[in-house]
Point group: C2
Chain length 207, copies 2
């Protein structure tokens, strides 16, 4: 079993100094990579800019933007069995990036465009022997939105978790399956959660 | 001598998940705090969100936004002799912060307004027995802009450094004084630069 994990935030440049970022710490990615390595799987981690340590034995591909993360996923997914997308990928990026640092003037308007959807792109290239697990970080109570996302993106499993999870040590999650099953895991440390998620994800191959 | 140092980036929230940030690593702040403590000065560090270690003995005040950094400077400056403003403070912040995570729609326009100028506010409260050192991170060759900033903000010394300095281990700088003196320091490690800057800043009190 070869496992590909995306984790961390992405940064979308505004100019050479400024960027739009998000509060993902990469803790979930570290926990998943650690769980996967302990279970004996070959593990590749595609990682946005984070500052926390990652397991030393993991094969690590560092990226910065959503576009770079997409490229890395498209390149790596064919060589892996399971893709777990735990990264908090930017949905938007500035339409144009200023070449020079923007000066201080009265106001600034940043026009943003949607980034390409990595789940959808991965789903289009998925072979019948591969599985994809996604995450859905939503405002409290928006579990229906996570369920819709699971179906729209053709995922095999989605982790619904509230916004408060981001940059926290624990995660309060539901696992949602395409057949309608819904497993409430409650609040757990990210390490304990990672072991369970990995077990459920590997079980998808014998379902 | 009591020294107050601002360092690191600030983050300006867009919604509970996303923010506008900048690439400041806090390395300059760590180097200045270390130099100041080694020289035997009482040292307070007002620090934006960074992930690198800071000297253990420093009195550290963590902030996130430009507004929080301004508040901390206004509160702390009266109890210090010297203020060194090495932080990369956001010039702009979103006019309004969304209470809930923004969904993915076609495009997004982020309207930003100027943040309050911390140098100017500190200068207004400065007593004759205090000194202020600023930084000016500019596009290559914009040393005139740094000189204008020195005069406009009433600083006692300004460090002009190019954008490439940000998040780098070294700094290629000029020190510019109100009397027209200009000292080109060239490229140095941030630790070596911090020792020199501190010496020049302390000399301002006997000038």
């Amino acid at each position: 079993m070869k496992i590909l994990i995306t984790a961390g935030p992405t940064r979308e440049p505004i100019d050479p100094v400024r960027y739009i970022g998000n509060r993902s710490s990469g803790q979930m990615g570290a926990a998943l990579a650690d769980a996967s390595l302990r279970a004996g799987y070959e593990t590749t981690l595609i990682l946005g800019p984070v500052s926390i340590p990652m397991p030393a034995r993991v094969r690590r591909i560092d990226v910065e933007t959503a576009a770079q993360m997409l490229d890395a996923v498209l390149r790596e997914f064919p060589n892996h069995d399971l893709l777990i997308m735990a990264a908090a990928v930017a949905d938007y990026r500035p339409k144009s990036v200023a070449k020079e640092k923007l000066g201080r003037h009265g106001t600034l308007t940043i026009e943003c465009e949607a980034t390409k959807d990595i789940s959808a792109a991965a789903n289009r290239m998925k072979r019948p022997d591969q599985r994809i697990v996604g995450y859905s970080l939503e405002n409290d109570g928006a579990i229906d939105r996570a369920r819709q996302k699971l179906h729209r993106k053709g995922l095999d499993l989605i982790v619904y978790n509230p916004v408060a999870t981001m940059n926290a040590a624990s995660i309060d999650s539901h696992l949602i399956y395409p057949d309608g099953r819904d497993e409430k895991l409650g609040s757990r440390s990210k390490a304990a959660f990672a072991d369970i998620l990995l077990e459920r994800a590997v079980a998808l191959f014998s379902a």
